[in-house]
Amino acid sequence: MTEFDWTQLLDYSLMAMLLAVGIAIVRLRNLFAAVMLMGVYSLISAAWFVSLDAVDVAFTEAAVGAGISTVLMLAAMLLTAREAEPVKAGRHWAALIVVSVTGAALFYAVGDMPIYGDPNSPANAYVGMDYITSTPNEIAVPNVVTAVLASYRGFDTFGETVVIFAAGLGVMLLLGLNPRKKKGEGK
């Protein structure tokens, strides 16, 4: 590259922040701090999504990951425990071996993956670009992501709505919407 691309600098700094926050989450024992850092991680991911031209995804990740998910985890943390027990050495080393083996296997596979940003990679060349060229003819909606989500792949979105409904049902069955106020009262 002859000229330095300043947006790449933004990408690198976001990646570095993600790595730092990820390692901090793993090392922290205070659950409140871990949950807060999870919200920060989601927000930094949302910023990186914008840099990667995925604006719909960034919107959803910021709203859902940094918003609702943080509220949920805080509420659960308040109802359960405030600190995690320290990790025993045996378990720590076993986990590290598992993670290293998995990571090594994934690194071995990196050689076969497409080049970052390649417009002719198999992921980008066929169906994805077809959606962009045929959306103006068949759907006439400027936001291609909404057109694909609601029209071309409307069936999948229907299934997703049912999954969200089922999860809401699950939580209602497990916890109940009008739970007991004090310990000792019967359900």
Partner: protein, 147 residues
């Protein structure tokens, strides 16, 4: 003076704006980033903000639990109902072109997309509210001093 006076006044100004913004995101999902999921979460965030400042009981009076339960099922029904409506009008399931006779500008697609995204908005909003009510309404087992 109420120590939360600033919070109460500012939130009373902000919560209607947040709801309007959520509806804007939903209706402009065709033209800009947005759609049903983001809009549902934004409207849920407005009600959660109300619950955080005025109390869960006040929020349960504003958005009652029976309404939340109804809306969750209604969203899925609206989505499926749009598909059945297109079936009844003669086309495939969820083929939106038949919803409006103007085929040159594909107005049927706009109508169909707004309807199904409304279903998604309803379900996402009510499920987020149901989850919040389930967690926030529960008193912790452990008294404050024993953490």
């Amino acid at each position: 003076m109420n120590p939360h006076l600033v919070l109460r006044v500012v939130s009373k100004l902000l919560i209607p704006l947040i709801v309007v913004f959520g509806l804007y995101v939903h209706f402009h999902g065709d033209y800009s980033p947005g759609g049903g999921f983001q809009a549902g979460v934004i409207v849920a965030a407005a009600v959660i903000l109300y619950a955080l400042i005025f109390g869960v009981d006040a929020a349960k009076r504003a958005v009652p639990t029976w309404f939340v339960k109804f809306l969750a099922a209604f969203g899925v029904l609206l989505y499926g109902g749009t598909g059945v409506a297109t079936l009844v009008l003669g086309a495939n399931f969820l083929d939106y072109d038949v919803l409006h006779p103007d085929l040159a500008h594909h107005s049927g697609q706009h109508i169909g997309i707004i309807l199904v995204e409304l279903g998604v908005l309803s379900t996402v909003f009510s499920v987020m509210m149901a989850i919040f009510y389930a967690f926030a309404g529960r008193a912790p087992d452990i008294p404050e001093g024993e953490w």
